[in-house]
């Protein structure tokens, strides 16, 4: 219920559309009941007049019938348009709202979720929430109003008629849906879960299809998908069975209401308390009035599904971001001097330290390299610097002030990053590059791409910069995608450039050339450079090098100093050199 109220609060901007839709639905319903009731009365009255040979005023009922017919037809059309318009506006609002909730959670909080599951949540769950207005809110409000009107009208003829109508409307509109909701809730939840599981399994299987085939697991995975598909079908069949019972019970109630009217009204006609034409009128009135509660079982049945979706959406949206932004952020200074002071970091409170007692300096126009094996915590340094995460203890200073006092977004304005898991979007290369600087001209694009030796490749494509980058850039080789990602970071022209294993996946020749170009570019632009790498080449030009092992800085100095110190760095370096010499002889 709490979820439902919260959902409704989100819909508030569109309450005008929503109310209009309800009003039109109500008018349409009333027009139909009026049409049926007046027709029944009209026919009988005409027949009686005919038999008695008296004249009667047939203009008024005929006019009423015409009016009701038009109101019903036009009202139905308007109702459908308005309620759908409202629904789509709500959906659009929800998507944006959810995206905005998701955005601060990236990347730290979203790592635990599978992207297939995430996608399923956003798309299917949010689509499902359309039920709240169209299938829940509109029918319930209309049914309540209509019941009130029906009971009042019948009371006027005889209280017992009103009682029969009210009782059966309650059974059909409240009891049946309530029972169905009870029986259908768990199935509804299972359906959402199964559908999500199937989608997630499909994502994994399609991405890993090659391995599944080679290792002969394709059939087993196909069987798993088949199983999920069958589970879903069984759940849907169960749901459909319930839905059928509900619809049947409802039709029965409508017929019973008509039956009850006859039972009560026939003696009244015999006693002369009701006029004979009113018998036909009441019978048809009762039948038509149940249109008000027809959508209710479906409404309540989908309620379980909808609430499950809403709960999942809210649970994700309510996660606090890993990093809180300051209330009154400091302006980011012109010159950026970062300093780590005794920084500790771990992912889980009880986990082991990923970073331990790290102190380092990154002054403006400084070239710093962090060297170490994968898993030594190098990349975590960058994510701390970018304020994606916060140190467990110790502090990071910018311009002497704690980093927490700056807004993450303002900070990232001045930092360009090539991360290890870089993503190229499903759009043109140009659009991918312009992400960094939407107003960059062609010259700037060319320059950035030339720097990373990808310009010639792009120009050689039939569509040049308008070439499409496939899903996660698969149409490009890993090295090409990487270089486009580097070009994108260069194009941003930020004061600090963070390169996290920038030459991975590149041909060695290209890698060397690209690294040299990047260092020269940074020097010329007076950019600070933070190079995170496990490769020891090209480090001669670095102002300072920290060697990391298991989350600690174990050695520091320039390339020359570190070689002279004959430590771990020198060992790595020498074994590398020996290898080269051995080859050359």
């Amino acid at each position: 219920m709490k979820d439902l109220i919260r959902l409704l609060r989100l819909f508030k901007p569109y309450q005008g559309w929503m109310l209009l839709g309800m009003l039109l639905a109500f008018v349409t319903l009333m027009a139909n009941v009026l049409l049926m009731a007046v027709s029944g009365w009209f026919i009988t009255a005409m027949a009686m007049a005919g038999v008695a040979g008296v004249s009667m005023n047939y203009f008024t009922p005929a006019g009423l019938i015409r009016f009701a017919a038009i109101a019903r037809t036009a009202g139905r059309y308007g109702e459908r348009l308005v309620t759908h318009e409202a629904t789509f506006r709500i959906l659009s609002e929800l998507r944006v709202w959810f995206y905005q909730k998701l955005e601060p959670l990236a990347p730290a909080r979203l790592e635990a979720y599978r992207s297939g599951d995430l996608l399923s949540r956003i798309r299917a769950d949010i689509d499902k929430l359309d039920n709240v207005y169209l299938r829940l809110l509109v029918p319930v409000v209309v049914a309540m109003l209509a019941t009130l009107v029906f009971v009042l009208v019948l009371w006027f003829y005889d209280p017992l008629l009103a009682l029969v109508e009210f009782t059966l409307l309650m059974v059909a509109g409240v009891m049946v849906p309530w029972l169905m909701n009870r029986w259908g809730a768990s199935t509804g939840q299972q359906m959402v879960t199964t559908a999500a599981q199937m989608r997630s399994a499909l994502v994994n299987d399609l991405q890993g299809m090659g391995e599944l085939l080679v290792y002969g697991a394709a059939d087993a995975h196909a069987a798993h998908i088949r199983q999920l598909s069958q589970d879903l079908a069984a759940q849907q069949q169960k749901m459909s069975g319930l839905q059928g019972i509900a619809q049947g019970a409802l039709g029965l109630c409508a017929n019973l209401a008509m039956w009850g009217m006859l039972l009560v009204a026939i003696p009244l006609v015999s006693e002369g308390k009701l006029l004979p034409p009113q018998l036909a009128m009441l019978a048809l009135f009762a039948l038509a009035s149940f249109e008000a509660v027809m959508p209710l079982p479906l409404a309540f049945q989908t309620l379980g599904e909808t609430l499950a979706a809403a709960r999942r959406i809210f649970s994700l949206a309510d996660m606090p971001p890993a990093v809180a932004e300051p209330e009154q952020p400091l302006p980011v200074p012109e010159t950026l001097h970062f300093a780590f002071r005794d920084v500790d970091f771990r992912y889980q409170p009880e986990g082991t330290d990923v970073l331990h007692n790290i102190s380092l300096d990154l002054p403006p126009a400084h070239k710093l390299a962090i060297v170490g094996a994968t898993g030594s915590g190098k990349s975590t340094l960058a994510s701390l610097l970018l304020r994606f995460r916060e140190p467990v203890s110790g502090e990071i200073l910018l311009d002497g002030q704690p980093l927490q006092q700056y807004h993450g977004e303002a900070l990232r304005q001045h930092i360009a990053v090539v991360s290890q898991q870089t993503h190229l979007f499903n759009t043109t290369l140009r659009e991918n590059l312009l992400l960094a600087r939407p107003d960059a001209d062609q010259e700037a694009l060319d320059a950035a791409c030339q720097l990373v030796l990808i310009h010639d490749f792009i120009s050689s494509q039939p569509q040049g910069y308008d070439t499409w980058a496939g899903e996660t850039g698969v149409r490009l080789s890993g090295g090409q995608a990487k270089r486009i990602a580097i070009a994108r970071a260069v194009l941003k022209n930020a004061a600090v450039l963070i390169l996290d294993e920038p030459t991975e996946g590149l041909d060695p020749e290209t890698a060397q050339q690209v690294m040299a170009n990047l260092v020269a570019h940074a020097t010329a632009q007076r950019q600070s450079l933070l190079l995170i790498t496990h490769r020891l080449h090209g480090l001669e030009q670095m102002d300072n090098i920290h060697v990391m092992d298991a989350g600690r800085i174990i050695e520091s100095g320039t390339h020359a100093q570190l070689l002279a110190a004959k430590g771990y760095y020198q060992q790595l370096s020498v074994s590398g050199k020996l290898l080269v010499e051995k080859i050359k002889t």
Partner: protein, 592 residues
């Protein structure tokens, strides 16, 4: 025809492609007799309705004109009650039968589609947007439900019930019968006229939905990148924009789609009104008995009801057609299968593999390999080196059978590879891609992949050989640790070693490695390297190599350039004779 007249892209047909409607028709067979049962039961329920109307007319007539009292009409009322109950049961049975039919179709189509995607294989998948395909497999297939569960039975009942009703109406009052007979065909006529325009738009709307889905997946996967460029807010506007576009597109479809039901409502309401008015006046003039008039009037709305139902189900059809278009397109992709059926391979570790004059160009015109020749000797470790785009990946995709060469052939000894059944061939090799995929499940399950019957001992032995045992043991639940998507929580080197353990467990005579050592730190590299060396013992090993250390361990190196193998030899030989190789080694040397 001038060039201006030519459309830039082939236009979508205005009518749904007959292939699509035919597909929808032919899929009915998957449902067995359930659809027919649903219609038959629905028809009986419809006929009972006539009895109900008859009893109601009798009752009212007797009370109003014969001054009958409640006890007089009670038998009729009991009869009515019995009919109510029967109809409830029948309606439920009919609906269940129809739903069951739809479920059978959905299961069958999802199965077909998945198998097709599997046949098309990983090389085809990498060129497509898997978001679209996943959408077709899940939501697309689901969109068929309403078509078979509701639209098809409604269509059949629409023809049958009104006809049955019409017989009774004509028997009682031919004037009303004529009015109904005259107006009924107008309704489907108008519906078809309106439906035609809607159908095309609906297809576009489905495509828009698929694009939106792909866009969402893309945006969410790239959320971190967006954030790094402070573009995530900009993207929020894109999300809003695309949602709005979707709304506008859908509403423009609905405005027309609802128009068809508007026409239906309008015609049926007007027709009923005409019937009522004519009956009313004939009653007034004494030309007709009240019983017949009231009976016919009660049947009139029921006559139009199935027609109206068809209107509300009509967009189920359009949804299904939109989804079917995508499904049929995937099912219609040609699979470049080898027609090979041979399921026994005489080849073993002593059989050489000859690649003869292989040429492959991608559908988009990119060159893969061109007139490539290479012999893989049994038991050797062969390294493929070359710049990116030289054709290394294409070569191994051809070898694995994920791509089929346009010309040339691959011989296994003297048996052409394309005479061997793909499944049989795939049993002969293990594969380690550049980025191995881990599947949801435990570490042990991931190593067992394809061999679920393998014992834990065998899994541990494989992991030990792959240098993975130590780190797996250190995981919270050891081999039973559940891994997240893409192996979250594991390092690149650890994922590589789990993939290597798979290969050890498979124990195939041929191992294919795709840049298996890229993206690793030194220590992982050493461990992976050691594992690969172990794997090479007694097996043929083909690997795409990027590092000198990898190359050095190879028995032979094939240097690739521009889609061809330009030279082969040992490291020492190539250093002497190949300028291309020398150049590459120099670069490797600088890498340390």
């Amino acid at each position: 025809m001038s060039t201006q007249d030519k459309p830039h892209k082939p236009h979508k047909p205005h009518k749904p492609d007959p292939a699509i409607t035919n597909a929808l028709k032919s899929w009915k067979t998957h449902s067995g007799f359930w659809l027919k049962a649903a219609v038959a039961i629905g028809l009986v329920s419809g006929l009972l309705l006539i009895g109900q109307a008859w009893l109601l007319a009798k009752t009212v007539n007797a009370v109003v004109f014969s001054k009958a009292t409640l006890p007089d009409v009670m038998p009729w009322l009991w009869g009515m009650l019995a009919i109510f109950l029967c109809r409830v049961g029948l309606a439920w049975a009919s609906e269940q039968a129809a739903f069951h039919a739809a479920v059978q179709v959905k299961l069958a189509i999802r199965e077909q589609l998945y198998q097709k995607v599997q046949q098309l294989g990983p090389a085809w998948l990498s060129g497509e947007r898997s978001g679209d395909i996943i959408n077709s497999l899940s939501d697309g297939v689901e969109a068929l439900e309403a078509y078979y569960a509701r639209y098809v039975p409604a269509m059949a009942l629409m023809a049958l019930i009104p006809m049955a009703l019409l017989v009774f109406v004509f028997a009682n009052d031919w004037i009303s019968g004529l009015i109904m007979l005259g107006t009924a065909p107008l309704i489907p006529l108008f519906m078809i006229l309106i439906g035609k325009g809607t159908e095309k738009r609906n297809q576009q709307q489905w495509q828009a939905l698929a694009r939106m889905s792909a866009h969402f997946l893309d945006v969410i996967q790239g959320l971190t990148t967006l954030k790094l460029f402070n573009a995530s807010r900009r993207e929020a506007r894109m999300v809003a924009q695309i949602s709005d576009q979707h709304r506008l597109a859908t509403m423009s479809v609905l405005r027309v789609a609802f128009l068809s039901s508007f026409v239906l409502e309008f015609f049926s309401t007007v027709s009923i009104a005409i019937v009522a008015v004519l009956i009313g006046f004939r009653l007034f003039w004494g030309e007709m008995d009240f019983f017949y008039g009231f009976f016919v009037l009660l049947l009139a709305p029921e006559f139009y009801l199935p027609l109206r139902n068809m209107g509300t189900q009509y967009h189920a059809r359009m949804q299904a057609i939109g989804a079917t278009e995508r499904i049929v397109a995937i099912l219609g992709e040609t699979v470049e299968t080898r027609d090979g059926t041979r399921d026994v391979i005489s080849a073993n570790t002593h059989t050489p593999i000859h690649l003869q004059n292989l040429t492959f160009t991608y559908p988009d015109g990119r060159q893969g390999v061109k007139d490539l020749n290479l012999t893989i000797h049994p038991g050797e470790t062969l390294a493929l080196v070359g710049l990116s785009g030289a054709g290394k990946t294409t070569l191994i995709n051809l070898l694995m059978g994920f791509l089929q060469a346009q010309s040339g052939q691959i011989l296994l000894g003297d048996t052409p590879l394309n005479t061997i059944a793909p499944e049989t061939w795939r049993k002969q090799f293990a594969w380690l891609p550049q980025k191995p995929q881990l599947f949801p499940g435990t570490v042990a399950d991931n190593i067992r992949l394809g061999q679920p019957q393998a014992s834990l001992d065998a899994v541990q032995a494989a992991a030990e050989q792959a240098q993975a045992h130590t780190f797996i043991r250190a995981l919270p639940q050891g081999y039973d640790t559940v891994i997240g998507e893409a192996g979250q929580g594991l390092s690149g080197g650890q994922i590589q070693r789990i993939a290597l353990a798979r290969a050890f467990l498979k124990d195939a005579p041929l191992v294919i490695l795709d840049e298996a050592t890229a993206n690793l730190d030194r220590e992982s590299e050493t461990l992976v390297q050691a594992a690969v060396q172990k794997l090479a013992v007694g097996r043929t090993l083909i690997m795409i190599a990027h590092r000198l250390r990898t190359v050095q361990d190879a028995d032979r190196i094939a240097v690739m350039d521009d889609g061809q193998v330009v030279q082969t030899g040992t490291h020492a030989e190539l250093l002497q004779t190949s300028p291309v190789y020398q150049q590459m080694v120099n670069a490797y040397g600088g890498e340390a």
